[in-house]
Amino acid sequence: MRVGVFICHCGNNIAGTVDVARAAEETAKLPHVVYSTHYMYTCSEPGQDEIKQAIKRENLDRVVVAACSPRMHELTFRRTVEKAGLNRYFFEMANIREHISWIGENKELNTNKAIEAVRMAVEKVIRDKPLHSTAFKINKRVLVIGAGVAGMQSALDCADGGLDVVLVEKSPAIGGMMARLDKTFPTIDCSICILGPKMVDVAQHEHISLHAYSEIEEIKGYVGNYQVKVRKKTPYVDWTKCTGCGECMEKCPTKNAYDRFNFGVAPTRAINIPFPQAIPKKATIDAQYCRQIQKGKCGVCAKVCRANAINFELPDQFVTEEVGAIIVASGYGLIDQELLPEYGGGRYPDVITGIQYERLLNASGPTSGHIQRPSDGTEPKSIVFVSCAGSRDKSIGIPYCSNFCCMYIAKQAILTKDHIPDSQSYVFYMDIRATGKGYDEFTRRAQEDYGAKYIRGRVSRIYPKGKKMIVQGADTLLGAKVEVEADLVVLATAATAAPGAAALAEKLHISYDTHGFYVESHPKLRPVETNTAGVYLAGAAQGPKDIPASVGQGSAAAAKVLALFSRDMLESDPAIARVNQNACVGCLKCVKTCPFQAIKEQELRGGEVVASVIETICAGCGVCTSTCPCGAIQLQHFTDNQLLAEVNSLCLS
């Protein structure tokens, strides 16, 4: 065998703490290695050319590149060796950057470690077998999870590109958080006026089928061929009959139901349509509050419904959708005020959250756009906004910035002045983060044109005094303690992962970070992909972001799906399990443990039973290989022999 070793300097990233020349010299002495060299940037075009030429010139049949993580460039180099005529699996990478040069400072130890890493890779590469992909058909339908602005954008772009889209939304109506906003920064556009037409497009698009008030129950399959089981939660109303007239809502005697759409700013009815522009405009019963469902007495809505749509017995329904790709746009959540005991922890009615204030400002909100104190309905004259209410606060486990609060506070301060001209707004802030186009100018307008008083410092305590709320904090520019008497306090509560985000990630087999936000494939270069092929991210599910960023990601994810679906066939990863039927004793323990049901029993002509792998289903985890007592089923590219060779190269043998 003729192995070539290519050691990368990665500029100074590797060469700074690894003696690459010595590593090349030492690895040249390894068995099977006929050529070993080092190069400034192996991944660059000349670097790759060097590999291709060396393969030809030195007649190499295996290649090892010692450079960065294979998670970064394995695919790049596989393509390189393939272009030079080798099978793409005749290649291994030794990770001498992330695992060596960046974490150790001792050059001698690092160099030795790098040589050993190459030795392991050589031991593995000489045992590599040629592997070939097979092609399989793609189901060109796409599932979009979440119908907020990011999900709707994805759905519309995919549908306009001719794909059939299945859009699943957890709440009874689409629109997400944006549908609840009054105006948007920095243009003061009316939020629902720009979102409404999109919602109508979604509802009417011939390629989009919408499952509102539905959740993902189960996902099976793999890129190109997913089976998704959707739970359509019962609204206790037959939506095929409901006309959205709203009669039921008017007559419902339960007047204290929690209004999820308005974040509890005012109570709603047990049967309700969340907001006037709701799509679908259908009524839903909140079982928790419904007298008929809880106590078996009432049924007023059923009596008044002319369409005869109310059905208290209606169960949840399940549909299975087959799709080839999935876009996850499941949005974000907000922390509970309970986490902020120093601000009252939700005990004071006149301390509210930013999104609640948004509903107070909104003309179609519970107060018809009149700003009123929740405690007594009076118009507040002095309003204090507290930014970073929970954000950037390690003590409650939220060290990150919530991204959009600085901007919406400026917007709310401006709108407050518009609504109540003789009002005074105060904004407590840590820093003003206004990095978008026109954003900084906007926060300046709030201060200079609308007279909002910005106080740089954190609020230490909020407490009631008579009818007022006292906001006590520090002004770090003055170096003094300040107290503001407020009629109303608005907390910019921290954005969090959406409730249930972790459970959904587990169904999708995608990763999430410690805060529950979904992890993209690469923070810079693959921001909307996940590590699971065929699953893409859009919007705040990946991290808090504002509307333009969410819309941008929605379109980006759609573009990824359109690119994926531009082919009719996909290539399967050939690094899957394979059975040596001569060695298989037919105990079928692998069938029991396969997480994907990808192994079936097969009867040979002699009547003997052996295991057999279904290639398109096998995902390549290798659980079967470590289950099989006789090593008859081997995960290709990670065979027992290969891993043993790596172990043996490290330990005495």
Binding site: N580, C584, C587, T593, G631, D640
Partner: protein, 317 residues
């Protein structure tokens, strides 16, 4: 152990099966051998006594016939485990159970009589009388029983279609089932290491333990011998010997029915069954699982729970 009752059962069962596996007299009275009965005139050759030690269930996976098999308590667990793992079909097996008070360790008997050739042996309820040319020795069964019998929890077969004899209760409290293992565990790490290095050093890599094991079903594919995958070399070094015994023990995790055949077969007298019993103890502790008790169980290594009640995340220190 009622031979007459057994013969009667075999007589009624034989017409409905291809073969009945029992024991017949062997080299001497201490060494009965397996016997494959296919016609009624062979029935009288059957013997049944505490010297009948082979686990006859070991033949089942390779026989493609309808078979009746004579099993004691521990061996019935083998049948259950084989069915549970799908290695044999329940409908192809007629289980003739024999309640058992313990079997002899031929090695212990021979040690007691100074390795004199055995002329004759007689069996009483709790003793064996061994006659050599020079003497007649009465040995208490407890003193010469196999180690496995001293802590046996299942003297009556857990599964049988016919039972040759009365039910026998276990003489050992459930708490004491693993007392030998706990005692061994009480030694220091160095003592345990020295013990096993000494034992493994005597291994001659003959694989008799593996060949005797009824749950070792890999046949010629056993990874102790294959080149692909190439787990072990043929070198007779101590680490390779140890590796082999670790492979055997770990492949039996949650599967060993404690029939003790591995240890009985070992020509060097290495206590290899102890390794498997230790893992069984941990399986019971971790998953409340004992191999070979119920056909519907799942072997614990081939299943999981999302929340494992007994497995806690380990700290490095």
């Amino acid at each position: 152990m009622n031979i007459e009752k057994l013969k009667e059962i075999v007589r009624t069962v034989l017409p409905s099966v291809d073969v009945v596996i029992g024991y017949k007299k062997g080299l001497d009275a201490l060494h009965p051998v397996p016997c494959f009965v296919t016609s009624p005139d062979e029935i009288d050759a059957l013997v049944l006594n505490p010297a009948c030690t082979h686990n006859l269930a070991a033949y089942l996976p390779s026989l493609k016939k309808k078979t009746a098999v004579v099993v004691k308590g521990c061996e019935s667990r083998t049948v259950v485990q084989l069915v549970q793992e799908g290695l044999i079909k329940r409908e192809n097996v007629v289980v003739i159970g024999v309640p058992c008070q313990g079997v002899l360790s031929a090695r212990k008997v021979l040690n007691a009589i100074n390795h004199q050739p055995v002329v004759e042996a007689a069996f009483e309820n709790d003793a064996v009388i061994v006659k050599t040319r020079k003497a007649e020795t009465r040995l208490a069964l407890n003193d010469v029983a196999s180690d496995k019998c001293l802590t046996c929890q299942y003297p009556t077969p857990v599964l049988s279609d016919h039972l040759a004899g009365e039910q026998v209760e276990s003489k050992v409290d459930e708490q004491a089932a693993y007392q030998d293992i706990r005692q061994f565990d009480a030694q220091s790490l160095e003592e345990r290491r020295a013990y096993w290095l000494k034992e493994f050093d005597r291994c001659i890599r003959c694989y008799a333990c593996r060949n005797a094991c009824p749950m070792c079903v890999c046949r010629e594919s056993c990874i102790a011998e294959t080149r692909d995958p190439h787990w072990m070399s043929q070198k007779a070094t101590l680490n390779e010997k140890m590796m082999f015994h670790m492979i055997h023990a770990i492949h039996l995790a949650g599967r060993c029915t404690e029939c003790g055949e591995c240890e009985r077969a070992c020509p060097m007298g290495i206590p290899v069954a102890k390794l498997k019993k230790k893992i069984n103890m941990e399986m019971k502790e971790l998953f409340g699982y004992e191999p070979g008790i119920s056909i519907d169980d799942k072997p614990p290594m081939y299943t999981f729970k999302v929340e494992e009640e007994k497995i806690e995340e380990h700290k490095i220190r």
